[in-house]
């Protein structure tokens, strides 16, 4: 009898049920999509923060002093300590290798260009490296996304160079022409514009800088761009003073400090630290944005809940003559509520499941459209969404059922409710 009542209710009042089902589905879609965005936004924004460039720097262990004013390096070439270029691929072997988005070495050399003494920087542009069985390319193009080249980037094994735009204006060079570096001519493959000190320097492939300095295989600094977790009090502790369990937890969290520690392990005789201008501030931006999105998600969940409740309550209220009739026929409060709650449950579950899948699709496409990579929704969210849908539909119908059940059946049947 019970099953028949529920079945007939769905068969005969399809239009009304459909409207409620649509409301539940839309509510579940929006809730799923927003929760997906809220959980994924942290990772996406962390990756977008890499446009600020390197947040870690590796330097030789021996404390060397930079003597540099603006774009001019006043330290005599050949003095100071160096890192070994051969160790660079090992960066992709550290525990947090998947968080390293790019790295670029730097070797400054003072050279004579024309009649002036300027600083030449050696680096990788887009160099393929191999570690173990992985090949990857890295270099300035990825590590410093704001570097713009008019012309073409030099290839890493050539002798072509990039000339900074201010220097190029002074020397009146253009892409394709030659400049004389320490007496020998080199082709200018492009003009570099960065907005920083590089605009007054020449940027060349690392191998060229090493031969000009007479130091094969030498690197002065390595700039590393990594996706990090904002540092907190735990991050700042000295890992050697922690007990093994805590140390593992510290090591396995992508704090700037732990990634720097791992870089130090990978590159012999090195010292690694965070570039505070970038590393410190990304954390505060990330937490602000996560805070905004969290508040918005709560608002979306609340609004979805209200919308579905309202739709449910409206649908229930329309049926008070039914309720009056059933009461007149002798149905008690409990069996009556059971029928309506069962209907609500069926609507909530179907709407919830459909809404979850639509919401997952929506979150994925939104991620692709805004961030270029899809936002994934954890499958564990499905029971959560269904649970929420059930709770909300029950809440919506409960109020209406109680009001309807309290009406005098006579009034309800007469249509005067």
């Amino acid at each position: 009898m019970f099953v028949r009542l529920v079945y007939e209710s769905f068969r005969r009042q399809t239009r009304r049920k459909l409207l409620v089902a649509i409301a539940v589905t839309l509510g579940a879609t929006v809730s799923t999509a927003m929760i997906g965005i809220a959980t994924g936004i942290g990772d996406k924004i962390s990756r977008e923060l890499r446009t600020y460039g390197a947040n870690l720097v590796v330097t030789p262990e021996e404390d060397t002093l930079d003597v540099q004013i603006g774009s001019v390096n006043l330290k005599p070439s050949g003095t100071g300590a160096y890192l070994d270029e051969a160790a660079l691929p090992k960066i992709k072997g550290i525990f947090w290798r998947n968080n390293i988005t790019a790295f670029a070495p730097e070797l400054p050399v003072n050279v004579q260009v024309g009649r002036e003494q300027i600083t030449l920087l050696g680096t990788y542009f887009s160099k393929p490296l191999q570690f173990g069985r992985d090949t990857f390319t890295t270099g300035a193009e990825k590590a410093f996304p704001w570097w713009k080249v008019q012309g073409a980037w030099p290839t890493d094994d050539s002798d072509d160079v990039l000339v900074g735009e201010k220097l190029a204006a002074n020397l009146r060079t253009s892409p394709g022409s030659n400049i004389s570096i320490d007496g020998s001519p080199h082709r200018v493959s492009g003009i570099l514009s960065t907005g920083g000190t590089e605009d007054e320097q020449v940027v060349a492939p690392l191998s060229l800088a090493q031969s000009l300095a007479g130091k094969p295989g030498a690197v002065r600094k390595i700039f590393v761009s990594a996706v990090t977790k904002p540092e907190d009090a735990f991050a700042r502790r000295n890992p050697d003073s922690l007990n093994p369990a805590d140390r593992d937890r510290w090591y396995c969290s992508p704090y700037p400090q732990s990634i720097a520690y791992q870089l130090r392990e990978a590159i012999p005789h090195s010292h690694a630290e965070q570039i505070r201008q970038v590393a410190q501030n990304e954390g505060s931006i990330l937490s602000r944005i996560k805070g905004i999105i969290l508040l918005i998600t709560l608002a979306a969940l609340l609004t979805s809940g209200l919308a579905v409740s309202a739709a449910m309550a409206t649908a229930m209220f329309e049926r008070r003559t039914e309720v009056g009739l059933m009461k007149a026929l002798g149905a008690g409060y409990f069996p009556l509520s059971m029928i309506y709650f069962t209907e609500a449950l069926l609507l909530a579950v179907t709407g919830g499941v459909f809404g979850f899948f639509l919401g997952t699709l929506l979150a994925r496409e939104l991620g692709r459209a805004i961030f270029g990579s899809q936002i994934a929704v954890a499958p564990v969210l499905l029971p959560v969404i269904i649970g929420l849908a059930v709770a909300v539909t029950f809440a919506g119908s409960a109020l209406a059922i109680r009001r309807a059940v309290k009406f005098d059946p006579v009034l309800a049947l007469r249509g005067e409710a």
């Binding site: 936004i41 930079d66 907005g195 931006i285 999105i293 918005i296 608002a299 979805s304 309202a310």
Partner: protein
């Protein structure tokens, strides 16, 4: 007569009317809060973005310094739009004849410009210096210990007030106050770092004004900072826009559901009106009047509530006051009006087809 009917409709069905009004208020509040957030997100994140330091740099030509009055000119051009901090550089020698870069700057301003500088103690008097951590190791000084630097034969006795740690070039320098620097070396500032606030158009305008004020200097945007900011802001705004669209659409659904239910519920009343001779147009006008009043009052109250919510978000998340944006109000009111009109007129069209007799009979 018309107004009496409207009034009675609201009074007699208090419960339904209240539910409908509540739905409109929720929708309007959600829309206002979202709109406020979307429009203001750049202002809200401004404090965080400015922590990255200078986004405009004014430099003298290589080897030269800026004119002595350049700092004042720039400060007056920038005004309240940002913070300008001068830096002067020279290469001095330590006791052991090692070259070291000494910089002169305004400490209070530098501290505000670069909050990421990790400083153990800021210098208080003119003969105190702030020493970068690498320089401090070179000089092998403890805090408070005096050391001497020589520039072109002139000696300067300094004591180390504290160290600065940044992970970049500052670690290798010794910082002294601008007056001490100028008195010692006679060199004027060659770089002025400016942290300017505003959108990318505002920053471009500031750069143009600075260029007009100092035509001989090189004024440039620090692309690392401006492009990073533009990228993050753009992506955040897109996310907010889509989230707002979701919330507003689902809130509108809430309004639609409630109002449609309310109109359907009163079909007996409309059937009676029709039976008494009212034309379809009259009933539609009556219902539209109700909807308009509902939409406008709900929209107004919702706008106030939404502004309250935005104000609370501003205080909790950003610790910044929120500006009332009255130019948003017309959009909200029009939106509410549109939704309420659609929600009420749609069921009416469906009811139009049915004969009054059938409705009065209870079908």
């Amino acid at each position: 007569m018309y107004f009496r009917m409207l009034w009675r409709a609201a009074v007699l069905r208090k419960g339904q009317a209240a539910a409908a009004l509540a739905a409109v208020i929720v929708a309007a509040a959600a829309a206002t809060a979202m709109l406020n957030l979307y429009v203001d997100v750049q202002t809200k994140l401004r404090k965080e973005f400015r922590k990255f330091g200078a986004n405009i740099v004014v430099q003298a030509r290589t080897g030269e310094t800026l004119a002595p009055d350049a700092v004042q000119k720039i400060a007056s051009t920038v005004g309240s739009r940002g913070l300008a901090v001068p830096f002067a550089y020279a290469v001095a020698r330590t006791d052991k004849d090692q070259p070291i870069v000494v910089a002169g700057t305004d400490f209070a301003a530098a501290r505000q410009l670069n909050p990421w500088w990790s400083v153990s103690a800021w210098p208080k008097s003119g003969d105190e210096a702030l020493v970068g951590v690498r320089a401090a190791t070179l000089l092998r000084q403890d805090s408070g210990a005096p050391f001497t630097l020589t520039f072109q034969g002139r000696r300067l006795n300094l004591s180390q007030a504290g160290t600065v740690h940044t992970g970049a070039g500052e670690d290798s320098r010794v910082y002294v106050s601008l007056q001490t620097f100028r008195a010692w070396t006679g060199i004027d500032p060659s770089v002025i770092e400016i942290s300017a606030s505003g959108s990318s158009q505002d920053i471009a305008a500031t750069i143009r004004d600075l260029h007009d004020a100092l035509p001989s200097a090189d004024v440039r945007a620090v692309r690392q900072v401006t492009e990073g900011e533009a990228n993050i802001l753009g992506k955040t705004r897109s996310t907010l826009l889509w989230s707002s669209a979701f919330i507003v659409s689902i809130a509108s659904l809430c309004v639609l559901a409630t109002l449609m239910g309310w109109v359907f519920d009163r079909r007996r009343d409309f059937a009676i009106m029709k039976a008494l001779g009212a034309s379809d147009r009259l009933i539609a006008a009556f219902v539209s009047g109700e909807a308009a009043i509902l939409g406008l009052t709900g929209g107004g109250i919702g706008f106030a509530a939404g502004f309250g919510i935005a104000e609370w978000i501003g205080r909790v998340n950003f610790h910044a006051p929120v500006a009332v944006r009255l130019n948003v109000l017309p959009a909200i009111l029009i939106g509410c009006l549109a939704i309420t009109l659609v929600a009420t007129l749609l069921p009416l069209r469906l009811l139009r087809a049915i004969q009054p007799a059938m409705i009065l009979r209870g079908e």
